[in-house]
Structure formats: structure tokens, C-alpha cells
Amino acid sequence: MSRRLTGAILLTAAVAGGAAWIVRAQSTPAAGAAADEQAIAAAMTRVHSIEPRVGAREDERAIENLQRSYGYFVDKAMWREAADLFADDGTLEIGGRGVFVGKARVLQYYTWLAPAGLKYGMLYNHIQLQPIVTVAPDGLTARGRWHFLAEVGEYQKSARWGTGSYENEYVKQNGVWKIKTLHGFFRMYTEYADGWGKSAVPNTRPEKALPPDRPPTVVYDTYPATYIAPLHFTNPVTGK
């Protein structure tokens, strides 16, 4: 049974149990021990009704730490550490290069991007911001929306600003949250010297040198086009 559903059922049971306890407590002292047992059971049910709410925040914190760690690893091209954040069957899709399936392919993708550990003069900052994490009612999967800001380049060769977002899926296996689907959407990349008023770098496309396991799930153009990755969450007030 789902954890959240269990919580709801237990809450109902707790109210019922509590009522039973009050009734019993008003009866004869001889019924005391049995009444205590009832009350203990009711209180335990209350514990279980509060627990899912606490668990949801723990999950949210764990996923934030996971994705923020991902950012710190990408910063320094720590590809092994980054790939180890994925579930074994996890997938990666960044920009327009297609979908890479499984940890080995994820690692291959990263290593193709930049030498592991970076080299002197390389900047690869991928700043992870503005999380909206939605944990599924069963507490076993989650989605996360993130914003990223990229500062990339090579000393005396190039420099770019970039922005975009992630719409990721996470999975909890043996109590550990992992990346199930990493999907980074580029919004805008520009040459530092010019800025986004003058320069726009086109989206990437599948590379012959690095064929993906699956084609891109969505083909889109980056800025100056206005494509924005769909939001996994609904309006927090209206639910629309």
C-alpha cells in the first residue's frame, strides 16, 4: 500500500481509536488496562498518520541534495561521481543530442563532453537553482523542476553564458534516491563577448560521433525561439 494512503487510513483509525479510548476511560477502573492498550494503539496510529508528511520533507531534502551534488560534479567534470547518481537503468537527455540509456552510456556521454576532471583553463559551472520537487504519493518516485545557469568556457579561447531547466524523474531504491530520468532543456546560450542581445547559440542535435540510444523525446529550438520545457507541476493554488 502507498505510504501516503496508509497515512490517511491510519489517521481515520486514530480518530476512531481515540474516541473508543475516551469512552473506555469513562468506564470502570477494572477496564483500565484494556483502555490503556486501546489508547496506546490510537496514539501509535497517530504517529503513523504524521509520519508520511515528515517522510515527504525528508525525500524532498534528499532529492535536493542529490541534484545539487550533480551540479557540483558537473562543475568539475567529475563524470564517474555524476554517473553514479543515476539508477542502473537511468537515462540522460541534455539539449538535443538524444537519449542515453544506462549508467555506462551516461558515463560515455559525459566523457565525450569534456575530459574527466577538467583541464587547466576550463570552466564548466552548471549552477542548480529553484527546485520544485514533487514526491509521488507512494514515496518511491518523484519529479523535479530545476533552473540552471551555466558559466562555461576555456581560458583565452571562449566564454559563454547559458540558461535552461531540468525536468527530472527520481526513484528511491533501497531507501536511496537516484536519478531515473535526467532531462536538461537548453533555453539560451550566448557568447559572453556579445550577450543575448546579439548572439544566440543554436540547440545541439544528435552527434554521429556519439549516437544516442534513442532519438530526442522532443525537438525544439533554443533562444531566440521561445520554447520552454513543460512544467511537471500544476499551479500550486488552482491545481491547473
Binding site: 508528511r53 520533507r57 551534488s69 537553482l129 529553484q130 566564454a159 537516484k178 542581445g197 525561439a225 499551479n235
Partner: protein, 464 residues
């Protein structure tokens, strides 16, 4: 016994209780008395769990606001407001009520829903300090936005400013009661804040669409400097007595219940700790922005330390306060920018709740009008300690990734990490020797890999 009682400073309290237990002959509480105590504790924990959920919901609300704003979804944004909610952007005045909010936002968008072709409208929502009222029905939040806006082949702008917002819980749903954005700057990309004053004067549509109320505060935008008032004071001991520990040691089902409640309490307290540490990281940044040195120093533990880049270590309140003079006088002066946007915190709290650690980063926008602009990026590996129930900075250690002049960027403008000052010398040399960009250095991670649980390793990719 809960960890909360074992915090530094509470030892006397604990001893007093133990002493009272030893000297008095009060009888063991009956099971009924124990149950009553547990029920009271559960009432309290239920409230605390609710507050934890409130903080999460408020962050979601504000971040959703940012995601809708970058897609010019005015109706979605309007729906985040309470019926009587209000919006105040920079010097445009106050627009009150949901329909006026809608009209205002549509006016901001020039009557166009969705982005125009070639438009960019990134509004990153960052650095929250969230405080929920004890009754859980209202809350306040300080945030900041980093803005990248523009129109392809026409213009590009950097922007930055602070929110002081109010939220209200309406039938269980958090809504924006008051959104108030204080603009620091909105400047052309070319030349940035070093060469340009604010383009707008803080006025967007206020002259075309009459506000319901004039601006609640009149202030100047860049290169003028203004410190938006804070909704909070520095965290201080609450004055409330520590939660007494529940009676323990019962056997059977009562013992099981005691254990379950104690475990729930521990988990709730660790989550509260993480929220409080995140607030603290944000507060640190806001004070650093405006060079509010006394307030910033107060966030440190008395035996705390500060280590910035390669400047060496400054110890204790006196040392930290001395070090801060390295960055300018107390209270920022006009035409100066000292933004240190605090982002990306990985937070770990010790199981006993007495210590915490973060890896986080600052994106720095620095400079002096008509003289110089600087971009900086650094990574913090910090440690915190709970003193009298309040989280304080024990070790503040930032590693510079790069400093680059605005004009040249990191392609051509890399600056070295600043070294120890002869004028205001540190108490101890740097704990690690490294050089910033174009060199590569990875600050050691305080935490284990989130999935493998192994130490996090970095293998250098190569030297010049």
C-alpha cells in the same frame, strides 16, 4: 533523552532535572499519565510537521511564480495571489486585489500573453528566508531574483533585486498576500553595472496604469544603494524552556509507543534544523550584499571562524568583524555593488542535531559605478553549531572558483585569488593552498556520495 537537551548550554538544565529526580521521591508516572504526556507531545509534533510542510509549500509557490514569469503566463501568476493580494514592483506603486494584479501583470507584458518571438525573461527565484507564523496561517519570505531579460537583436539586460513577500494560508492553500520587489538594478548587458545606471528608474508601467497606492517606500535604484527592510531579526534563543523529555523506560506496547514518538520527534527536529540552516545561509548573503558587518558577525558562533579565498583564517567575533573590513566599510556606500547570491546548498545535519554542514555557492556581482565590474563564483564548505537552540556559523570557508572583470569575462579577465592582507592580517594562514581559475581546484566535499556512500573523489584532468 532527546538530543535537544544535550545542546551546549543546556547542560545545567539537564543537571537540574537529574538532580530533581535524584532528590525527590515522586512516584513513577502511571501509564495513564505517560499516555497523557505522549498525547500532548503528539499534538505538538503534528503542528511541527505541518509547519515543515508549510515551508515547502511556500517555496513551491514562489518558485512557481518565477517559472510562470519567464513564460509570461500572467493568469497563472495572478492565480497565485489571494483575492485581496497585492503586488508592488520597484517604484511602480501598489496594485491591490487579484484583478488589479492581473491588470498590472498584463500591462508589464505589454498586453501580450506568452513570450514574444525572440524574447528572454529569465527570473531566477533564489535565496529564501522563510518564516511561518506560529499559528501556521501566515508567513513571510525574503527572496531575490536574478534576471536575464531582453529581445534578440535589440537588447539584453541583467537585473537583480530583493523580494519581501507575505503569504497567507487560505483553506489549507498557501497564496501570495503581498509581493514586493525591491529593484537593485536593471542594466544593459553591454558594460553591465560598471558602465550603466539603471535603465528604468524603477518605473515600468506605473505612469500608464495608475496604482491603488503610491510606492510604500521611495528609494533610488542603481547606482543608488538601498537596503530593503528585513522581515526578521537575527535568530535568537526563544526563551522557551526546552521540551522536557518524555518519560521513558516503559515496557511492552507503551515502550514501543515511546520509541516511535521519540523517533518521529528526532526526524522532525532534523528537518527543522535543515530549514533553519538554509535560512541562515540566505541571511548571511543578504548582509554580505549590503556590508552589514555587525549583523553578519552576529550570525557566527563566538568561536566561529571565517576563511575567504586565500586570505587566511580570522577567528572569533573580533576576528570575523576585523576581516569584514577587508571588503569595505560597514553599510555599503552609493555606487558600490557587493552582491553575493547564495545558492545550491547541500545540507547535512548531524544525527544529534548539534552540528550541520553545507556545501553551497555564491554568485558574486561586484563593482563600483563608472570604475569596475566583477563577476565571481565560489564554493562554500561551511560548518554550523547549535548554540542555545540557535544555529550559528562555526566555520565559514569559501573557495574562489573565479574572479573575472565584467568587460573581459572568464575568457580573458581571470583574476588570482586574493591573498593575506598585510593591513588586516589573518589569525592563521589559509588551511589549503590553491589558485582559482584558470587553475582548477575542487574544494573537498564534507559529505559522502549521495548514492554510493563512498568518499567523493576528484582526479585532476591535467596541468598546463
Amino acid at each position: 533523552m532527546t538530543s535537544r537537551l544535550w545542546r551546549p548550554g543546556a547542560g545545567a538544565f539537564v543537571l537540574a532535572i537529574l538532580g530533581a529526580c535524584a532528590s525527590s521521591t515522586s512516584p513513577q508516572p502511571t501509564p495513564a499519565e505517560q499516555l497523557a504526556a505522549i498525547t500532548r507531545e503528539l499534538d505538538r509534533l503534528q503542528g511541527e510537521a505541518e509547519r515543515l510542510a508549510d515551508v515547502s509549500a511556500i517555496k513551491r509557490l514562489q518558485r512557481a511564480y518565477g517559472y510562470y514569469l519567464e513564460a509570461a503566463q500572467w493568469d497563472q501568476m495572478t492565480d497565485l495571489f489571494a483575492d485581496s493580494g497585492s503586488i508592488e514592483i520597484a517604484q511602480d506603486g501598489v496594485y491591490v486585489g487579484k484583478e488589479h494584479v492581473r491588470r498590472y501583470l498584463n500591462a508589464l507584458g505589454g498586453g501580450h500573453v506568452g513570450l514574444r518571438s525572440g524574447q528572454l525573461s529569465e527570473h531566477f527565484q533564489l535565496q529564501p528566508v522563510i518564516d511561518v507564523a506560529p499559528d501556521g496561517q501566515s508567513a513571510k519570505g525574503r527572496w531575490r531574483a536574478l534576471i536575464m531579460s531582453g529581445q534578440f537583436k535589440q537588447n539584453a539586460r541583467w537585473g537583480e533585486g530583493t523580494y519581501e513577500n507575505e503569504y497567507v494560508k487560505d483553506h489549507g492553500i498557501w497564496k501570495l498576500a503581498k509581493l514586493h520587489w525591491y529593484q537593485t538594478f536593471l542594466v544593459p548587458y553591454e558594460g553591465g553595472w560598471a558602465k550603466n545606471h539603471d535603465l528604468t528608474g524603477g518605473v515600468f508601467v506605473g505612469k500608464k496604469l495608475t496604482p491603488d497606492q503610491p510606492p510604500s517606500e521611495h528609494y533610488g535604484v542603481w547606482p543608488a544603494v538601498y537596503i530593503p527592510p528585513f522581515h526578521y531579526k537575527n535568530p535568537a534563543p526563544s526563551g522557551e524552556a526546552a521540551q522536557p523529555a518524555l518519560p521513558a523506560g516503559a515496557s511492552g506496547s507503551l515502550g514501543e509507543l515511546e520509541k516511535a514518538v521519540a523517533s518521529l520527534k528526532e526526524r522532525i527536529e532534523r528537518l527543522k534544523d535543515a530549514d533553519e540552516v538554509e535560512n541562515l545561509v540566505s541571511m548571511y548573503g543578504y548582509y554580505l550584499d549590503k556590508q552589514q558587518w555587525d549583523l553578519l558577525t552576529d550570525l557566527f558562533a563566538p568561536d566561529g571562524s571565517m576563511e575567504i579565498s586565500q586570505r587566511g583564517i580570522y577567528k572569533g567575533h573580533a576576528g570575523v568583524r576585523r576581516a569584514l573590513e577587508l571588503f569595505g566599510p560597514q553599510n555599503i556606500e552609493p555606487e558600490h555593488l557587493h552582491n553575493h547570491i547564495q545558492i545550491q546548498p547541500v545540507i547535512q545535519v548531524a544525527a544529534d542535531g548539534t552540528r550541520a554542514w553545507t556545501r553551497s555557492r555564491a554568485l558574486s556581482e561586484l563593482g563600483t559605478y563608472q570604475r569596475v565590474g566583477i563577476w565571481g563564483d565560489g564554493v562554500y564548505e561551511n560548518e554550523y553549531v547549535k548554540v542555545n537552540g540557535v544555529w550559528k556559523i562555526y566555520k565559514d570557508h569559501v573557495y574562489t572558483t573565479f574572479f573575472a572583470t565584467y568587460d573581459k569575462g572568464w575568457e580573458n579577465g581571470a583574476g588570482k585569488s586574493p591573498k593575506a592582507s598585510p593591513k588586516i592580517p589573518p589569525d592563521a594562514p589559509p588551511s589549503e593552498i590553491y589558485e582559482s581559475f584558470p587553475d582548477i581546484y575542487v574544494p573537498p566535499f564534507h559529505y559522502k556520495h549521495p548514492v554510493t556512500g563512498q568518499p567523493i573523489k576528484w582526479t585532476p584532468g591535467g596541468a598546463p
